[in-house]
Amino acid sequence: MFCSRARGTRTPALCVIAIAVVLLSGSCAPETERSYLVILTEGIPPTLDPLAALDSRVDNPVINLYSALVQYIPGTTELSLDLAESYEVSDDGRRYLFTLRSDAVFHDGTPVRAVDVKYSIDRMLTLKTGVWAYLTPVSGAEILGGRHVAIDLYEPFHGLLGALTRFYVANSELVRANEFQGDLGQRWLQSHDAGSGPYRLVSFQPEQQFTVERFDDYHGGWGERHIERAVFRVIREEAARRIALRNGDADWIYLSSADTLEALAGEPGITVNRDPTLNQLYFAFNTRREPLRDTRVRRALALAYDYQGHVEHLMRGNAELPYGVLPARGECASSDQPPPRHDLVEAKRLIAEAGVRPGEVELTMAFEGTTGETPFFEIMRAGAAELGIRVTAVDIEWDAKVSNYSRPDSSTDMGTIWLFAPGPEAHHFLYSLAHSSQAGDGGNNFAWYQNPVMDRLLDQAAAATEEERRCSLYRQVEALWLEEMPFAVSVTMVGLSAQRDDLKGYSVALGHPLTQNLYPMWLE
């Protein structure tokens, strides 16, 4: 009425102002206490398919929606049984026999059976994607009874249980019913839940948010203190996430900047978390390309990177240097191994020895600017410039980066890769990066590094059941790595996050960093 009666040039503007007043006054309603948890993240997972849980963005919802045979005790790398009631290993180490719990059910009420484990294994072996990268020694599964299933291996594999923490069992009947043109349910699972985890999916809004709520029949049981319902919402800008946390509109936020962490550290009602992780940052050098085909050039570039500057100045101490090529908390890591070294004198000597003249070489480097990797590129560019090598930026997202590395001729000269290993086993770090089977189309070997000696050592180490022998083999792998330098090992991540004080029970599992496992959490 107001708008239709008023006349003149002021009319429309007055209408806009009136609408603004009404909208703003809507916020004056008294605040009600939230009964659910709000977690703010950088991005929505590209899919909810449990097979894709290799990607930490996917593991985030999946660890809450699905269960694995075994799982890490939150905050540790100690394994505990999850869907499995017990397990045995055959004498030759090539067969693991699991007995499933009798009380585990999927969210639709169907019991979790051996057939579901076999279906999930078969699905992984058919699609050869996601967590398969860590489970390549698995040859198949056999149903031995309603609750008994065997997982078979080509060779003994000491890292199997650790890798199985990321292998989530899906409801075979439900997925089969939703297959589309033989896709084994990939399309349906993108936004649906077929799990037996402590939480079930309530809603999924692409690029905005998803909501989960407690699954009453969860086999782990429910005590008095748990989260009933949680909303994972995307707010890409860290500054906005920080405002939301301060205002009490969020309970937990992910941080990528040490500056934000320091700014929030003194805020009343807010706790900041600095969690050690196993995540390592590597710089892949395309070993198929000149001049990076020459190991001296690769070693020189590795020596040109300012690791200490990265840790102290960029991350303000919120990062760690690895021991040799392994994270400090990784299996077989030893403090005797020197951390990566910044030595421009030696780097220049190597460059001169390789015959590379200043100003002659220009290299491309792929990185993910959207996830805060631009400073890594800048540090590398500055170091390379000292050697007379020009580095240009190729700023792309993870999926495009994977595509970029799918062929050696189309890939960039250098690139970043964060490795989110499922557990501390050295195998997960070294095999997936340096084994020739993982080159390009094969996985994380973005360097296209292929060396039969390295392959033999990695294969032997994977099959070695005795820790001493295994670590001895990994020492040899490490020595060869540092000599050949297919990847420069940069830093180990310290997980940064901030939360409201009344959120309790948050802990990060080293094998699942950046993942918010809701089950142990509660709001006080």
Partner: protein, 336 residues
């Protein structure tokens, strides 16, 4: 006459869309990476990769691939996203209304405030309103949009806490039944006033951010066109007839000043169709901009093609609308 003109313009859209589709298709072939790999998954075997390549027709020469694409397009099939495995048309139905709602709110602010301020500035030339507007317009055009967005978030969501910081609805608000996909309209049609208010409150900051530059632009053009119109003979005649100053501005000067303003408004709409990426990301809007951004970074060619065609079509219709509006604003303009 007008009907024939519209029919001709609609017909001419076909070669334009074909041209754009050819360009977009060929440019997308130049992107680094392998779309078959993106579709098959990072660890698919060479055999699986080849099977996917064959299934998607990616093993065919580029002109053949384009022909296959157009053939499917004519049947209303925009293809399947390589990354999400969902139909592009279906995903566009989710993302496009979000952008349309944001665009609508932005344009309401731009047009209403831009024209009002422009007229006021012109009619008080040299006064404080005029000087203040000129200062604002320099700031509005010059200030980076991402900085403005963060500033507004900090002030209205952080300090004053009167508006939500991001998203399309509050966490506790259930989206209204889908009719148009525009939450405000759908809530209005469903009689869900609280939801409508909530959706409206979420629109304020992103729409305001996007509209500041537009208000400056529309305001400046309106001001200058008004100043020009106010010096014309017909305005002098109107004043001589004894009409009130307000009537002279609104009934005689403004309609004549609207021609260049309409052109600028049309250009603003066109800009916003492709220019919301940054703001959608900052405000977690989940619209076409976010979808396009993801598609590009994921080398998802069907998504890139779908967005290009939808945006181009919308752009062509906006242009047509502006051209038709000219005839209403200036009866001397005739299309044959």
């Amino acid at each position: 006459m007008m009907g024939r003109y519209v029919a001709r313009r609609l017909f001419l859209m076909i070669p334009v869309l074909l041209g754009v589709s050819i360009l977009a298709f060929y440019v997308s072939q130049l992107l680094p990476g392998d779309p078959a790999r993106a579709a098959a998954g990072r660890l698919a075997t060479p055999e699986q990769l080849e099977a996917v390549r064959e299934r998607l027709g990616l093993d065919q020469p580029i002109p053949v691939q384009y022909g296959l694409y157009i053939g499917r397009l004519l049947q209303g099939d925009l293809g399947t996203s390589l990354s999400s495995k969902q139909e592009v048309a279906q995903e566009l139905r989710i993302f496009f209304p979000a952008t349309l709602e944001l665009l609508f709110a932005t344009m309401v602010l731009t047009v209403v405030l831009g024209i009002t301020i422009g007229v006021r500035a012109a009619t008080s030339r040299g006064g404080w309103v005029d000087r203040a507007f000129l200062g604002f317009s320099y700031l509005g055009v010059g200030m980076p949009v991402f900085f403005l967005a963060l500033l507004l978030q900090l002030v209205f969501a952080g300090w004053l806490r009167v508006l939500p910081i991001a998203g399309r609805l509050s966490l506790e608000t259930v989206p209204p039944p889908v009719l148009t996909g525009l939450y405000t309209f759908d809530a209005l049609f469903a009689g869900q006033w609280a939801t409508m208010m909530d959706a409206g409150r979420h629109l304020v900051l992103p729409a305001l951010t996007l509209s500041i530059a537009g208000i400056s632009e529309v305001g400046r053009i309106t001001r200058s066109a008004m100043l020009n119109a106010l010096e014309q003979d017909y305005v002098r005649t109107a004043r001589a007839k004894g009409l009130s100053e307000r009537a002279v501005w609104l009934r005689h000067a403004l309609p004549n000043a609207m021609l260049p303003t309409t052109t600028v408004i049309g250009l603003q709409v066109a800009f916003l169709l492709g220019g919301t990426v940054l703001i959608e990301n900052i405000f977690s809007w989940g619209g076409l901009g976010t979808y396009a951004w993801k598609g590009i970074f994921r080398l998802d060619i069907p998504v890139i093609m779908g967005i290009t065609l939808v945006s181009t079509t919308a752009y062509l219709f906006v242009n047509l609308g502006v051209d038709l509006l000219y005839t209403k604003l200036d009866p001397r303009i005739r299309y044959e």
